[in-house]
């Protein structure tokens, strides 16, 4: 027997094929025991499907029933027999129950290697689908009313004579909400929750099960825990199956959903206590606690306690007014702050007090971040030129012409300056000769700021192509994203990170361009990523600032601003600084995304902050440059 099975497994091709639906599913139109006409599949369980069927014994009315199927795939006769026994146990158990929140059972039978249970058909959808399909959080009152009904039915089951019935599988997908908005508990698949293997390895149902279930104990307190887990999932929309077990305490409800009352949170927390003896002693006690919450909160005491945040209180250290919008990012060099402006000027200010030092007039707006090297300031302008002026005096040192507007910020490395232009070319200019060392022609304007690492130059184009060019100007590799890459890349370790207007944050292998992961943003992004502690930070047009784990591509937190975030985050000490088109500069704790303070300007902020020596410098389209204490 053992050997035979062995051979079969080895000689059979182990290919699941393309169809993911079980092969042996009944087709609509099939009739079971000449009575139940199958209409469609309404669910797929671990052991088979659930169908909606019409009972043909009522020819003059359409009587719908749910037919639950269990396919016995087990090759071993002993296992097969156990499965049938479990099934019949469920049927017999259900037949003795009579409660409005438990579906009625009409019939059960077996055919070949399949067993069927015929149940009351519930019009409605399960709670998991309700959670998934809802746009935001469900109202507290609604959840409390369902929770009270669930406590009622649990109390009924736990009070069953002669032996209490432990449901053992309370979870949103087993709770149906019918067309009246009432709760029906489905799937008494008790045998499924606990399976043991030959070598004593046990596997529990993840997510909703209490810790003691792993030890094989299941009392009514286990159902109380799972009830708490179900409520936690419903209130927070965080699926516990995707989180580490028993980690509810790490996701306090009110941190995720501030609309929930302290009282309801306390009830759920009590149900979720690690030690069974710390939970409600029974479903009735939990119901009483929920009733109290409903009475107390009503509509009277809505708790809205967002943390008080410093906003109006922040006074800038200094501010300086230019003649037009500031859309770019400042740079600091030897006590001077250099910032470009839409009034065509590059300003040099004293970083300590904001005193004007000099300005240099180009013939077009300056939207980029200048670069400083060896006493000179380098910046591109919409007048098609790269300008090089003395940092001390603002006098012209040399200029370099391109065929298009220069909106990409220059990057200086290895004796060369690299920048893109609307002439669709990446220019590499030798700082000694002031002539082009080479040019690389792309297929679209380049707004992205090149990044230089590993003797390669990385940048994106407005057509969505991302390039890696070597120091001779030859393409090493390229990667096609679906929309423009305006965001400037960042290389950390062996990966290059950048965002795209196609709503994706990418991580590629910096050496060969293989994509490692992608992270979906709510909308496109022109923001350039920042990096700290193995986290990548980036803003997006959906108004969020995101923190993503660089190893796993999992979201760590997101922070909502009131308009799109084109600004690029800057990390300084344990804070993240980033502007938003809503006009504010935000300071967040970068590990948690918690707001520390925000500073409101009177215009949009599209440039990025510069932090140096505990001072943040930021430009705004309200024409001002501000210096603030970090």
């Amino acid at each position: 027997m053992e050997k035979a099975l062995d051979t079969k497994n080895i000689t059979q091709p182990l290919d699941s094929g393309d169809d993911s639906t079980p092969r042996q599913q009944l087709q609509s139109g099939a009739t079971l025991v000449k009575r139940y006409s199958i209409q469609e599949v309404i669910g797929i369980g671990g052991m088979g499907s659930v169908y909606r069927a019409r009972d043909l014994h009522f020819p003059n009315v359409v009587k719908l029933v749910a037919v639950k199927e269990m396919i016995n795939l087990a090759p071993d006769p002993l296992v097969r027999q156990t499965i049938v026994q479990n099934f019949e146990r469920e049927a017999n158990l259900l037949a003795t129950l009579n409660h409005p929140s438990i579906p009625r059972i009409y019939d059960y039978f077996s055919e070949d290697n399949r067993s069927y249970l015929v149940l009351e058909f519930v019009h409605g959808k399960d709670l998991e689908a309700v959670i998934t399909d809802s746009n935001g959080f469900l109202p507290e009152d609604q959840v409390i009313s369902w929770a009270i009904q669930l406590c009622d039915v649990l109390a009924y089951l736990h009070g069953h004579k002669p032996d209490p019935i432990i449901f053992r599988d309370m979870k949103p997908s087993n709770v149906m909400i019918n067309h009246n908005g009432d709760v029906i508990l489905v799937d008494f698949g008790i045998a499924k929750t606990f399976q043991s293997g030959v070598r004593g390895t046990m596997i529990g149902t993840e997510g909703y099960s209490p810790p003691e279930q792993y030890r094989g104990e299941a009392t009514q307190l286990a159902d109380i825990y799972s009830m708490g887990a179900t409520l936690h999932h419903t209130l927070t929309r965080r699926d516990p199956r995707l989180e580490p077990p028993f980690s509810f305490a790490e996701r306090p409800i009110r941190r995720i959903n501030t609309n929930i009352s302290v009282e309801l949170e306390a009830v759920v927390n009590t149900a979720l206590q690690y030690n069974p003896s710390d939970r409600f002693p029974g479903a009735n006690e939990m119901k009483d606690a929920l009733m109290n919450v409903a009475r107390k909160t009503g509509a009277l005491t809505k708790i809205t306690s967002a943390l008080p945040v410093k906003s109006g209180g922040i006074k800038p250290l200094w501010s300086f007014k230019c003649e037009d919008e500031i859309r770019g990012t400042p740079v600091l060099y030897q006590g001077s702050l250099f910032t470009g402006c839409y009034d065509n000027n590059l300003y040099a200010l004293n970083a300590a007090d904001g005193q004007f030092q000099w300005k240099f007039a180009a013939d077009g707006g300056i939207v980029s971040r200048p670069a400083v090297y060896d006493g000179n300031v380098y910046f591109g302008s919409e007048d098609h030129y790269l300008h090089v002026v003395s940092a001390r005096s603002g006098k012209v040192v040399w200029t370099y012409f391109t065929e298009g507007k220069v909106r990409s910020s220059p990057r200086i490395a290895e004796g060369h300056i690299f920048f893109g232009s609307d002439d669709q070319t990446l220019h590499a200019v030798n700082l000694n000769t002031t002539r082009a060392a080479w040019k690389f022609t792309a297929e679209a304007p380049i707004h992205s700021t090149p990044f230089v690492a590993n003797e390669l130059v990385y940048f994106g184009t407005e057509a969505g192509m991302f390039y890696s060019i070597d120091f001779r100007g030859e393409m090493k590799w390229r990667f096609q994203s679906k929309r423009a890459v305006t965001s400037s890349p960042l290389v950390v370790g062996q990966a290059v990170y950048f965002a795209s207007v196609d709503s994706t944050l990418y991580s590629l292998d910096a050496k060969n361009g293989w994509p490692i992961w992608r992270f979906r943003l709510g909308k496109g992004s022109v923001s350039s990523p920042a990096f700290a502690d193995n986290f990548v930070f980036v803003g997006a047009a959906d108004g969020f600032i995101y923190c993503v784990d660089a190893r796993t591509a999992k979201e760590v937190w997101r922070f909502r601003t009131d308009n799109q975030v084109s600004s690029s985050p800057t990390i300084y000490k344990d804070s993240l600084y980033c502007g938003s088109v809503d006009g504010s500069l935000y300071c967040l704790e970068y590990l948690s995304g918690r707001l520390r303070w925000k500073f409101e300007t009177k215009g949009q902020i599209t440039g990025s902050p510069l932090v140096f020596d505990d001072i943040v410098y930021i430009g705004s389209t309200d024409h001002h440059v501000y210096a603030l204490f970090a």
Binding site: E2, Q195, M202, E206, D509, N512, W514, T552
Partner: protein
């Protein structure tokens, strides 16, 4: 005979003097710089980066059949710049009757097949465009496919899976269960790359078990996540740089459950090559009682 040679070469005198001469020699301690240069001159250089691997497996001493499965594939993607490519998977099946080995075998083959199909055109054809699907998503899809297969074809069973895809100097890992991946450095550090999805590990993380209690916990074999189990499976998928210099080792609990890290390190570094290292580890686990099936793969990026 010796006498004959001594006569023949006439070195009798010199030999007597030599020991004295050596006694008088005092070696100055080497400077750090000298040591570094000696070490670097001993490091063999390889013009092309090489991925090398060894593997080992044993049913152990106390079981009559093997529920572990492993796959080890080492290759190179051709091109102007050859890129090392490797796929290594270890799976430890469990569940009723014969289903444990069905689950682990299926998991390894289906994942391996899925991933190799994705890379087929890069390895054996002239692709027209670069891979659009990120490596982590390829791994996630592969593990989902294996999960569905096991759920359907071997209901009730489950398996651990620890899979690593090496591409260039990046290692993308997909992991479920309590098989493990380690980074092993020449200086003796052994760092786990994966985190066990076991009840005991979880209770330890929550602070409910102390280090001592962990060792004696009665339910050490209880998994809280396994491929083939549960409706939605979430595997840990992440990418790390290849430890250089160093090794990566994948193994089932038949190895890490009975051999401590120092002994692992010794077995690996004392072996002349990776194949021998794997055999040494398997033997050590069997000498320690061999309570479970043993699977191990070690690979290294050199050059």
């Amino acid at each position: 005979m010796a006498e004959f040679f001594r006569k023949l070469f006439g070195k009798d005198k010199q030999e007597k003097e030599k020991p004295n001469a050596f006694d008088a020699v005092v070696t100055a301690p080497l400077s750090d710089q000298q040591i570094d240069s000696i070490i670097s001159s001993q490091n063999m250089r390889y013009e092309m980066q090489q991925l090398v691997a060894g593997s080992g497996q044993s049913v152990g001493k106390q079981r009559d059949h093997n529920e572990d499965s492993l796959l080890a594939f080492t290759g190179t993607i051709a091109g102007t710049q050859s890129v090392p490519f490797g796929l290594y998977i270890v799976a430890d099946g469990m569940g009723g009757h014969q289903f444990g080995e069905v689950a682990s075998n299926a998991a390894v083959r289906i994942m391996g097949g899925y991933i190799m199909r994705k890379f087929h055109s890069y390895l054996f054809n002239l692709p027209t465009q670069s891979l659009q699907e990120p490596l982590q998503e390829v791994m996630e899809a592969a593990i989902r496919e294996a999960h569905r297969y096991v759920q359907h074809e071997a209901p009730g069973s489950g398996t651990t899976v620890t899979a690593t895809l090496v591409l260039g100097q990046q290692v993308t890992v997909a992991h479920v269960g309590d098989s493990r991946a380690y980074s092993i450095y020449p200086d003796g550090r052994i760092e786990p790359i994966t985190r066990d999805h076991s009840l005991v590990k979880r209770l330890e993380e929550l602070g409910h078990l102390s280090k001592d209690e962990v060792a004696t916990f009665p339910h050490r074999n209880v998994l809280i996540r396994a491929l083939g189990q549960g409706e939605a499976l979430e595997a840990d998928v992440f990418t790390i740089p290849f430890p250089q210099p160093g090794y990566i080792m994948l193994c089932s609990d038949g190895l890490w459950g009975v051999i401590n890290e120092q002994d692992m390190y010794r077995a690996i570094t004392e072996a002349p090559n990776l194949h021998r290292a794997c055999q040494n580890l398997v033997e050590a686990a069997n000498i320690a009682g061999g309570p479970d099936n043993i699977s191990v793969v070690i690979f290294q990026l050199i050059g």
